[in-house]
Structures are given as structure tokens and as C-alpha cells.
């Protein structure tokens, strides 16, 4: 056992630390540090810089731009990125559809999509959830019926994050409505968002933000060569994807920065001298340290190819701590949290005006990516044997 990084790992960390702070423009990192919403241009600019240096998709196979890194190196790459407030590569591209295409796609589909996906020349969105298929994803009902060289797609997807920026959508569709098991008739289909028959409708969230959408498909004709892998094998690919989705979902680095921000503002306002508040902050810091160490254990333990069972803790606990940080920031804001986008003459600072909306927005983190109740069910069944 050895807590410290090896000299090689420390050098690797230092190299990335310098890279992020010198190669990613400071104004992008400043915006990301305080932003509550994703900035499309900043994400694109950053991913292109990363991709030009071979750092956008280290988790992919080497022949498609990946790095043959250890899990610990992957973790350092992500942690340092978060600590430097660098916008992460678009997860729909790099953690979701990219690895699925690389693993299961034909050579033609790999050559067509993987390059532009890594470079973010294609902005992907995720077409999984439906109004009647949330946690019970396999009950999805969007149909794709084969008709000559095309699939005819009908139905509705929802909770499509950042769909308003998307060029393409990767969808789970039902290609065999008569399959004996609901998991068996599902396929993984790539669809150009400009195809006739697709309508996007924004869903306004409780904080006033616009980040998710409904997507309607009405007699949409999709070329059959945009099917990934084999027909009716989509559920297998989806499970593979959801396993990767947990990469980085704990957001340890970002939560640490949020807590540092809370501390800085609470110091300035004098709230840090209140022992009740100080106790909550100190406990939150301890919680994030415990999660970080757990993440390190998972990273170092997955080298044998078998995931560490503690990995299921990361999403569950990571989401709780992201939420806790937003609660603490709103606490620091106090009554200054009440005004919202109230104009220049108002004394309540901008960060305070956005603290409560962000708190409300972050209730999403324990719902998306497999709700925390789904995570508990996984822990209970696969780890505890219940």
C-alpha cells in the first residue's frame, strides 16, 4: 500500500496541471468556475484544443485517438481538469456514443463518426428516456420499422440534455415490437437532427434555465447504415454505455472547488465565524475527502479489469455532495439569494442571486444517470445479495 503518487504519476499530474492552465484560455476557465450553465462555445473551443493535443478522448481505443492510460492516470486527467475549471469534453460524445461506436460499430461507421465525435464537429445528444420510460428504460416505445434501406422512426424522447445545440442524436429505438422480452427488441440508431419530421421542444426548468428538451419523431426516415452494431442488440450497447456514464459522475474536483468558493465567500461575510456554519462546512469537506479516497481506491483497484464494487458508491455519494455544496452556498447568500437577475443597481451580488436557482437545479444530480434509488437497488442486489 502506498498513498503517494509514484514519481511517474506525479510528473504526469504536473504536466497536465501546467497544460490546462496554459493552453486553455483563462477567460474560459474563469467563466466555467462561476458558471451555472454550460457555455456551448467554451465547450467546443476547449474540446478542440484538447483534441489537437490528443487529450480529448483518452478512454477510447488507441487507434481512434485514445491513450493506453492506467485508471489512475485517467482519474488524474479528469481531477486536474476539474481543479483547473476546464470545461470537460462533451460527455455524450466522449463517454457515451464514442465508446459504443468504437466497441460495437462497423468499420464504416467508425470511420464516418469517431473523428468528428472526438473533435466535437458533431455535437451529440442522448435519446434514451421517454415519457413512460424513465428508470424503467427498457419499456421505451419509440419505434423504428425497417422499410427498404431506411428505418421509419416514430415516437417521443424526453430529458434530452443540450439537445438545442445538437447536430445528431443517438437513440434507443424499438425495432422488434413482438420480441419476447422488452429488452430484446431494442436497437441503437444514429439520427441527424436535421432530418425532416424531427421537432425539438424546450423544457424550462424550475430555476428558469433551459438545458433539457423533448424530441418528437414523426415518420422520420433514417438510413439503415446509421444503425450501430446489430439490430435488436441495442440493450447490450446501452448497458455498456451506462457503465461508462458513471465515469467522472462523482465530480469530486468540481465539488471541492465549490466548497472552496463557499469558504471564501463565508470568510468575507463573516459567516465562517459562526460555529454552526463552520461545522457544516468542515463536515462537507471531510465528506468530499472520503469520496475522493474512495474514487482513488476504485481507480487503483480496477486495474485487473474487474470493476471495484465500491464504484457504485461514487454516483450516489457524489450527487449528494454536489447538492450539499449548492445548499451551503445558498446559506452563505442568506436573504441576498432572493433577488434574481435583478439588474445592476441591486446590492445582492450575482453569485448570491444565482445560488438558490442553482441549488434547485442541482436536485437533478440524484435523478439523472440512474437515480440514487436505482443505484441503491444495484448495490443491494449485486453487492449485498438482497
Amino acid at each position: 500500500m502506498q498513498l503517494a503518487l509514484t514519481p511517474e504519476e506525479a510528473a504526469f499530474r504536473d504536466e497536465l496541471r501546467t497544460f490546462y492552465r496554459t493552453q486553455i484560455p483563462a477567460e474560459i476557465r474563469d467563466r466555467t468556475r462561476i458558471a451555472s450553465e454550460a457555455n456551448r462555445d467554451d465547450i467546443v473551443t476547449t474540446q478542440k484544443i484538447l483534441n489537437d493535443h490528443g487529450l480529448a478522448v483518452p478512454n477510447w481505443p488507441v487507434e481512434w485517438g485514445g491513450k493506453d492510460w492506467t485508471p489512475t492516470q485517467q482519474q488524474i486527467w479528469l481531477d486536474e481538469m476539474q481543479l483547473a475549471s476546464v470545461p470537460e469534453p462533451l460527455t455524450f460524445n466522449t463517454n457515451m456514443v464514442g465508446p459504443v461506436i468504437a466497441e460495437f460499430g462497423s468499420q464504416a461507421i467508425k470511420e464516418r463518426f469517431l473523428g468528428p465525435t472526438a473533435a466535437l464537429d458533431i455535437w451529440w445528444c442522448q435519446g434514451f428516456s421517454e415519457p413512460e420510460a424513465g428508470s424503467d428504460l427498457a419499456s421505451l416505445r419509440v419505434t423504428a420499422l425497417r422499410d427498404g434501406d431506411t428505418y421509419l422512426v416514430n415516437g417521443q424522447k424526453t430529458w434530452t440534455t443540450l439537445g438545442q445545440y445538437a447536430d445528431w442524436i443517438f437513440c434507443l429505438v424499438r425495432t422488434d415490437p413482438n420480441a419476447p422480452k422488452k429488452q430484446a427488441g431494442i436497437s441503437f440508431l444514429l439520427i441527424d437532427m436535421n432530418t425532416p419530421g424531427i421537432t425539438l421542444r424546450p423544457i424550462k426548468l424550475v430555476d428558469g434555465s433551459y438545458e433539457v428538451n423533448e424530441v418528437f419523431f414523426e415518420d422520420v426516415r433514417v438510413p439503415a447504415d446509421q444503425l450501430v452494431g446489430e439490430e435488436n442488440q441495442g440493450w447490450t450497447y446501452a448497458k455498456f454505455l451506462l457503465g461508462n456514464e458513471r465515469n467522472g459522475i462523482a465530480q469530486v474536483g468540481r465539488t471541492k472547488l465549490r466548497l472552496a468558493e463557499v469558504k471564501e465567500l463565508a470568510t468575507a461575510s463573516g459567516l465562517l465565524d459562526d460555529p454552526l456554519f463552520a461545522a457544516r462546512l468542515a463536515e462537507a469537506e471531510n465528506d468530499i475527502v472520503a469520496l475522493e479516497l474512495t474514487q482513488m481506491r476504485v481507480a487503483s483497484g480496477s486495474q485487473g479489469g474487474k470493476p471495484n464494487p465500491a464504484s457504485s458508491v461514487l454516483k450516489l455519494r457524489g450527487s449528494q455532495l454536489q447538492q450539499l455544496a449548492t445548499e451551503l452556498l445558498a446559506e452563505v447568500a442568506g436573504p441576498d439569494a432572493l433577488p434574481f437577475d435583478a439588474g445592476d443597481g441591486i446590492a445582492s451580488p450575482q453569485w448570491a442571486q444565482h445560488s438558490a436557482p442553482r441549488y434547485l437545479n442541482y436536485r437533478k444530480t440524484s435523478i439523472y444517470g440512474g437515480s440514487n434509488e436505482v443505484q441503491r437497488t444495484i448495490i443491494a442486489s449485486t453487492i449485498l445479495g438482497l
Binding site: L5, E9, L257, A278, D287, L293, V313, Q375
Partner: protein
């Protein structure tokens, strides 16, 4: 960064686990706990044979990772032998500041033939610090101690006491005292372990090493005890959760096993989360010490998490069992008792939080 045990460490773990699971089932453990001594001299000898009683001060025996591994097994079986309090921690103090002549007794300790205790805690002391009220007085070359120590874990059976006392010229010194030279009032702790209140009235004492301030060594000893307790708690939590999960798959109500009720299985999953967070922090404490970093902040961080996780797991383990969880006959309540006792030893969670609060302003981003 490497969280794997070496082959030797795995062997030590398995040997300890075998010995203790052979020796202690819930019934035989209760029998031993209810004897006057409260633990087994026979098991003590076997622990000595494996080399466990010299861990940390006998260089051949191993260091903090070995202690971590062994204490986790002790926690798993709730073995009552006072390995930490009667051997490892006072032994490490003697090894660190004692003279060559004094260190000679460590061979007897490692062999299981001499019992020690670290008499440091005093009435009114919550989070142990090196400052104490017990006073050391010098007359010529001889020293005497006066004051009260309580609770002294394993103080009931110790042959030799390592005692902290305020020096006449300031600072806290360490002294060896023959247990017979002090007035001992032995007792049983609520979780079945043993301790004593010890009063010194001009008791003859021998300085451990030079009669100089030993605050650093005392601080280090406290960090060591804390890490060892965290390791022990980890084993206890692991077993409490295992027992609970097993019970949920066996106990039937409403015609089905309890594992069919999501209100119970979801809570068991949360216990697992608490367990894994505790494991991370217990390892953090042990690995830091193994790296030579005896940092009281790390000890406080680990013990805070262990306190929170221990509270959560022990309460839920009892609740998910139902009434049988609060009986003497069934083991899960005893795990809860031990975890509660550990939370009350060397500073509660609230006391640890005070350590962390005092340092909040010293850094921007929290880091490992």
C-alpha cells in the same frame, strides 16, 4: 498510489482471521468477556506467536498497514484481547523515547509476557491533548507522580504503566510506573472491555528516556491509537452489515423474506455506502502513518468519518434486525456497543469536528 496488500500482509490477515474465527463465535466470546479478566490469556499467547503483539515497535514484525489488517480482523470478531491498549500503543511509546535498558522490556511485551497500559486520559479531557494535570515531582534523582487517570483502557491488568505527567519546568513528560505502586479501581466498560481509574499519590516513577517534554511522542501515540481504532471499527462495521444482509435474506414476515421489502434493502445499500467511505478513511489514516506522516488532522478526519459511519451502521443494523438486535444473545447489538465505545474513545465525532473547524481558514481547497 497503491491500495493492494502485499502477499505477507494477506497472509497475516488470513492467519489472524482464522485464529479469531476458530476461537470466537458469539457464544464463546460472551463466555470469555464475562470472566474476571474479560479476555483470554491463551489467545494472547497465540497472538504473540503470530507476531501481532510487537507490531509497530518490533521492526521485524511490521508497521501500520499490518496493524490495520490485524485490527480489522479483531473488530470483525469483536475479539476482547486488548492488543492496542496493552501492547501496541504503549509499546510504540517505549520504543520511541525509552532508553535501551527500558526497551528491553518490549521483548516481553511482544512475547505476551508483560502487559502495558498508556495512562493518559484524565477527568474532564474530551479530545486528548498532550497537556495533563497529573504532576511529576523530582527529588534528587528520583521522581514521583501525583494525579488521577481515567479512563485507562487495559489499566486493570497492566504490569507496567506508561504515564504522562506535567514536568516541574513545563512540558509533559512520560514515566514508567509499576502498576502495584498506584491505586487501581478496575471496571468493565459498557461494551465488555476493561479499564481502570488509577490514582497516583507520590507514586515512585522512572522517567521514560530523559525527563523532557514528550508532547510530540504523545501526540504521535494518540494518532496511532486513533488509526488502530478506526481499523477495528471498520471490521466491526463490515460484520454488522454482513449479519444484517444475511438476516434480511433469511427472516420471513408476511410470508416472504425481508429482502423483498425495498424500504429495508435501500437502507442496507446506504449502510454499504457508509462502510466504503469508512474503509477509505481508515486506510487513509493507516497509509499516512505508514508513510511516516503522523498528522493529527488526518487522524481527526478519519475518526470523524468512522464515527459517522459507525453510528449509522450500528443503528440501522439493529433496526433492520428488529427486536433481536437489542438482545444480549444475538451479536449485532454487541457490534453496535463496540462501535459506540470507539466513538467515545479519543474524542467523539464532535470533538474531531472541532479540530477541523479550527483549521478551516488555513487552506483554500481541501485536499488529501
Amino acid at each position: 498510489m497503491d491500495f493492494q496488500l502485499s502477499e505477507e500482509q494477506v497472509l497475516l490477515r488470513d492467519t489472524t482471521r482464522d485464529l479469531l474465527s476458530r476461537t470466537y463465535d458469539p457464544e464463546s466470546r460472551l463466555r470469555v468477556v464475562n470472566t474476571d479478566l474479560g479476555w483470554s490469556r491463551d489467545v494472547w499467547s497465540q497472538l504473540a506467536e503470530i507476531g501481532i503483539l510487537g507490531l509497530g515497535f518490533d521492526e521485524d514484525a511490521g508497521g501500520q498497514i499490518e496493524i490495520q489488517v490485524v485490527l480489522t480482523e479483531i473488530g470483525r470478531r469483536l475479539a476482547p484481547e486488548p492488543v492496542v491498549h496493552a501492547a501496541l500503543v504503549p509499546g510504540a511509546l517505549i520504543a520511541e523515547v525509552g532508553t535501551a535498558g527500558q526497551c528491553a522490556m518490549l521483548d516481553e511485551v511482544a512475547a505476551g509476557q508483560r502487559l502495558l497500559a498508556f495512562a493518559h486520559s484524565e477527568p474532564g479531557m474530551r479530545l486528548p491533548t498532550p497537556e495533563v494535570a497529573t504532576k511529576a515531582a523530582r527529588e534528587g534523582d528520583s521522581w514521583t507522580l501525583s494525579g488521577r487517570k481515567n479512563p485507562v483502557l487495559a489499566g486493570d491488568c497492566a504490569d507496567t504503566l506508561v504515564v504522562s505527567a506535567a514536568l516541574p519546568d513545563g512540558g509533559t513528560g512520560l514515566f514508567l510506573v509499576d502498576a502495584a505502586a498506584a491505586r487501581r479501581q478496575p471496571y468493565r466498560t459498557f461494551d465488555g472491555q476493561r479499564g481502570a481509574q488509577i490514582d497516583f499519590e507520590n507514586a515512585a516513577a522512572e522517567p521514560l528516556g530523559e525527563p523532557v517534554d514528550a508532547s510530540t511522542a504523545i501526540g504521535a501515540a494518540l494518532v496511532r491509537v486513533s488509526a488502530a481504532l478506526c481499523a477495528e471499527a471498520l471490521g466491526a462495521m463490515e460484520e454488522a452489515l454482513r449479519l444484517t444482509a444475511e438476516y434480511l435474506t433469511q427472516r420471513k414476515q408476511f410470508g416472504v423474506t425481508l429482502s423483498k421489502f425495498q424500504t429495508l434493502t435501500q437502507r442496507a445499500a446506504d449502510m454499504y455506502v457508509s462502510l466504503e467511505l469508512a474503509r477509505s478513511m481508515a486506510l487513509y489514516a493507516a497509509m499516512s502513518i505508514a508513510d511516516g506522516n503522523l498528522d493529527p488532522t488526518i487522524a481527526a478526519r478519519a475518526k470523524l468519518q468512522i464515527g459517522r459511519s459507525g453510528r449509522h451502521i450500528s443503528q440501522e443494523a439493529i433496526q433492520l434486525h428488529g427486536g433481536i438486535g437489542v438482545t444480549d444473545e444475538y451479536p449485532v447489538g454487541h457490534y453496535a456497543a463496540r462501535l459506540t465505545a470507539i466513538e467515545h474513545t479519543l474524542g467523539s465525532s464532535q470533538d474531531q469536528l472541532h479540530v477541523l473547524i479550527d483549521q478551516l481558514g488555513d487552506y483554500e481547497v481541501v485536499s488529501i
